[in-house]
């Protein structure tokens, strides 16, 4: 019996050893680090020292003043596997971050010493002013610098022409195909449509736009405008494997272990290769915020683009210098279905009167919410309370913030006062407004005949917390609202179809021009979740618009949504005077906000953690992260 026991014990030990066997190789590197640090016990100072001790394989040898300049590398994690690395098909910020490292377009983003962002020529020798044509269109002519693809072939104007025709063609079904709608010849329906872009010779590219576009240079720096080569993309799987991935930017893909890691290697053929300080960028692919944080804390990853929401408060304290809150052009808002009837049966209002009453009610309910509470207690990531739909970060032609010149401007910015002092007066005025339409019980301070709403949001702790807050704010005066969550794709479908009464929503800018917040609300837009101009709202003639002060012979009284807003948006798109165009955009936002269907809550911020060992890194206003000019100490 004893023999058997001994045998079994021996077996257990063998397996226990086997189980740990793999682990024996690793400790050798950390066991070396305490000596380097000279700071004491290997495991003692767990939290704050971890980033420097566990720095991993690429850390230079200790104590050597003569350390040879080995290849510099940085390991980061911005998201999980990108859906695509084809510049025409990508519509994600993480994909764009990789693409700006891999491709070189006519223009690019840079940051100067003061921290300001600029669009500068990249493959174009310069970014010339357009030449106006007789028919109101404008033509740009670009001259290309000498540049090569990663397989050695020269980059020609033909590659740009091909790439733009391809990306804008409806057949490709690219999410961002509509980014070419400023170019003459663009059609969102006709597969035979051709853009007015032409390679005059190998070095000259000519493109004609429908009219002047103030953000045109920014579009040139946008990934969907990057060149691709026809023979490369003929292989439909070209952008999924390093061996077939031919690009022309600062880096090439040297390794791609799907769902695990993408490694970028500096491209020696890149025209400005001497400006690139980082030799290797490792993009680890994970979307789990807890995992990202673990890897940041043990020093493996030097930048992570997401952190667990419930850790934000403690991370801000623990890593005051490494927890970064950056601006992002986007708005988190609540949207109403304009066709949802929220009036009590007793109101007896119909048609335009009913719509105006509903607009007033929706605006009043929007004033019940304390946006400071939402950003400070729920968001906790430096978000800014929003008082307009067009987000903070959008600028007027004179450089001032668009939202600061929106709406009232009598003592506050935007369409309502979001300061802490105004909360009580907002609340009181909202209650007064609602009293006009609903029965109010003075004894309990509650409305008694408000229909119970259902707030729709996509499944997520953060959205739920905000929904619960909105619910409680309304319950304070007896306005009932249930919460319903749906999984992402179902939610998108429900919201798009208009099968909801009130829902969570959000919008991030694609480029720095307010039009990308405004043209989404035209009747035919695929993003018109509010259902403006659809269903019963189609015939509601409740809107006024007077464009005569701006030099247009358009004046509409009691017009429908299609007669006012849709007309206004197309006027803006064809307007060639920058100042007038911005005034018209303010006007469009005024109409939009007057419906009360858009209830802005806060302007988004982009939070990430960046190791203090990294210098030379920047993130642009669209959230693209640039590692090419960075270095690691």
């Amino acid at each position: 019996m004893k023999k058997i026991l001994a045998l079994i014990l021996a077996l257990v030990m063998v397996f226990a050893l086997a189980a740990c066997g793999g682990g024996q190789q690793q400790p050798s590197s950390p066991s070396g680090t305490p000596a380097q640090n000279g700071s004491g016990t290997p495991s003692g100072s767990s939290g704050t020292e971890a980033p420097s001790s566990g720095s991993g394989t690429e850390a230079p040898p200790s104590g050597g003043e003569t350390a040879a300049p080995a290849a510099s590398s940085i390991a980061v994690c911005i998201a999980s596997e990108p859906d695509t690395l084809d510049p025409a098909l990508n519509s994600a910020v993480d994909g764009a971050t990789m693409l700006v490292h891999l491709f070189s377009g006519l223009a690019k983003w840079t940051q100067d010493a003061s921290g300001a962002f600029h669009i500068v020529p990249d493959l174009a020798t310069d970014l010339p002013a357009p030449v106006a044509n007789a028919d109101g269109t404008v033509t740009y002519t670009y001259t290309l610098r000498d540049a090569a693809w990663s397989d050695g072939q020269p980059v020609t104007a033909k590659d740009f022409e091909y790439a733009w025709q391809r990306a804008s063609n409806v057949e490709l079904g690219a999410d961002y195909g509509y980014m070419f709608d400023v170019v003459k010849g663009y059609s969102e329906e006709d597969p035979a449509a051709r853009l007015a872009v032409e390679a005059k010779d190998d070095k000259t590219l000519e493109v004609t736009l429908n009219g002047p576009v103030s953000y045109w240079n920014e579009l040139l720096a946008f990934p969907v405008y990057f060149p691709v080569r026809e023979d490369v993309v003929a292989n439909e799987a070209w952008a999924t494997d390093p061996s077939t991935y031919v690009c022309n930017g600062a880096y090439t893909i040297s390794g791609w272990n799907h769902n695990s890691i993408i490694t970028l290697q500096k491209n020696p053929n890149y025209a400005d290769a001497d400006e690139i300080t980082m030799d290797i960028i490792e993009f680890y692919l994970s979307d789990d915020a807890n995992n990202m944080l673990s890897n940041f804390q043990n020093g493996s990853w030097l930048l992570i683009d997401d952190v667990p929401t419930n850790e934000i408060a403690s991370l801000k304290v623990q890593y005051p210098d490494e927890f970064v809150v950056a601006g992002q052009i986007g708005t988190y808002y609540v949207c109403w279905n304009i066709n949802e009837d929220i009036l009590p049966a007793s109101s007896g209002l119909t048609g335009v009167e009913a719509e105006n009453a509903r607009a007033e009610i929706r605006q009043a309910i929007g004033l019940l919410y304390d946006r400071n509470y939402i950003v400070e207690e729920i968001g906790q990531a430096g978000q800014v309370p929003a008082s307009s739909f067009v987000a903070m970060g959008m600028t007027n032609p004179d450089g001032t913030q668009f939202y600061k010149t929106a709406g009232h401007n009598d003592g506050f910015d935007g369409y309502f006062d979001v300061s802490v002092d105004a909360i009580e007066s907002n609340y009181a005025s909202a209650v007064e407004t609602l009293k006009k339409y609903y029965d109010f019980d003075e004894a309990t301070q509650q409305f008694t005949n408000f229909p119970t709403l259902t707030y729709l949001y996509n499944t997520s702790e953060g959205h739920k917390a905000i929904g619960e807050y909105l619910q409680s704010a309304m319950a304070g005066v007896g306005l009932g609202m249930n919460l319903e969550n749906q999984e992402w794709a179902t939610f998108l479908n429900t919201r798009k179809q208009g099968n909801y009464s009130i829902a969570r929503n959000g919008w991030l800018a694609d480029y720095n021009d307010p039009i990308c917040f405004l043209d989404m609300w035209t009747t035919a837009s695929g993003n018109n979740d509010v259902q403006f101009g659809k269903g019963a709202h189609k015939d509601v003639a409740a809107y006024d618009m007077d464009l005569t002060p701006y030099g247009y012979d358009v004046k509409v009284e009691d017009g429908t949504w299609a007669e006012t807003y849709d007309v206004l948006i197309s006027t803006i798109k064809s307007c060639s005077d920058e100042n007038t165009r911005f005034q018209l955009m303010h006007l469009a936002e005024d109409i939009l906000m007057s419906t009360g269907c858009i209830v802005p809550l806060y302007y988004y911020t982009d939070i990430y953690m960046l190791s203090s060992r990294v210098s030379g890194f920047f993130s642009n206003p669209l959230g693209y992260k640039y590692f090419m000019y960075s270095s690691v100490n």
């Binding site: 329906e189 799987a237 890691i261 692919l285 995992n291 999984e487």
Partner: protein
């Protein structure tokens, strides 16, 4: 193996094919009945672009036609089609990529669990009510009741952050140690408990007493008679467990950033990536069906008294 057994296996294989077909059919139609679609995003694409994509992937055809085309492609060409979300990649390649990692992880974890579990279980049974038994029971109870996201997170904090011994991402082979341990702990504890109770049961059987009375050495009793017969419940459990464990665990893959198939399985559903949903479901269904079949056949090998009819 007699002709009856062969007939039984053939019958089971036919039944397995039928099962997989039912799974395919139900998944196909239920998946298409769920609202939302693969080309939907926060920012809507134009109706014309949507139509172009649907035509490209054949989603514009009548549903029944799509169903028969799909079945035909799988049966005749083993073609699972392209992924709708990861454009340019084929479903079969994505699954193969993920399975390589998941299967490696799962197989190591499963056999680790099996070996350690059987040894500990047998040890506990033989030292019944002694200290060893009690310690083993306490530990296994803990592992059986702790969900993997807690064990995983604990191991991560301890070994990756506090001690900085192991990486926190499953990109390298060292990074696979923690996920393997996390995956193995639950089945290991479960197998320990199964083996222990079944071993105790077998040790009380008449034939063991007879063997003892005849003077057979205790080593021969345990390894020749008791252990083998006490493994039947373990085999029942091990087959399906192996199928589940090699097809990836979402939780473990998320916690340790392991590029396995479990993440693909879940994200394909949220993305409405129809061919990916079908592909991952079929692979999982086939594995489970095969593993069940194999465990049933193993019964017969282990215990000839069992009649496979």
């Amino acid at each position: 193996m007699n002709s009856k057994t062969i007939l039984y296996i053939l019958k089971r294989i036919l039944l397995a094919i039928l099962t997989v077909w039912v799974v395919i059919t139900i998944t196909f139609f239920v998946m298409r009945a769920v609202p939302g679609g693969p080309f939907m995003g926060e920012k809507a694409i134009t109706a014309a672009a949507q139509a172009a994509l649907e035509a490209k992937y054949g989603l514009d055809k009548p549903l029944m036609e799509q169903y028969f085309t799909y079945l035909k492609d799988i049966v005749t060409r083993f073609d699972f089609g392209p992924s709708l979300k990861q454009r340019g990649r084929m479903v079969i390649d994505i699954i193969a990529d993920g399975m390589r990692t998941s299967a490696k992880l799962g197989l190591i974890a499963a056999f680790l669990a099996l070996i350690v579990g059987v040894v500990l279980g047998a040890l506990a049974a033989l030292r019944r009510n002694k200290l060893v038994d009690k310690i083993i029971m306490v530990i296994t109870t803990a592992f059986v009741s702790m969900p993997s996201f807690i064990i995983g997170s604990l191991l991560l904090v301890l070994f990756s952050i506090k001690l900085a011994l192991l990486p926190a991402n499953g990109t390298t082979s060292q990074g696979l140690i923690l996920p393997i341990v996390t995956l193995a702990l639950y089945p290991m504890a479960y197998i320990t408990r199964l083996t222990r109770s079944s071993m105790l049961d077998v040790l009380g059987q008449d034939y063991i007493r007879t063997a003892k009375a005849k003077g057979v050495s205790s080593g021969k009793i345990i390894f020749g008679h008791a252990l083998k017969n006490s493994l039947i419940p373990v085999i029942t459990y091990f087959g399906p467990m192996l199928a589940y464990i090699v097809t990836g665990s979402l939780v473990v893959e998320q916690i340790f950033a392991v590029p396995g198939i479990g993440r693909q399985f879940v994200s394909s559903i949220t993305n409405r990536d129809y061919p990916m949903i079908m592909g991952t479901t079929i692979v999982l269904a086939c594995l489970i069906v095969i593993m069940n079949l194999v465990s049933d056949i193993l019964y017969k090998v282990v215990d000839p008294r069992i009649n496979l009819e």
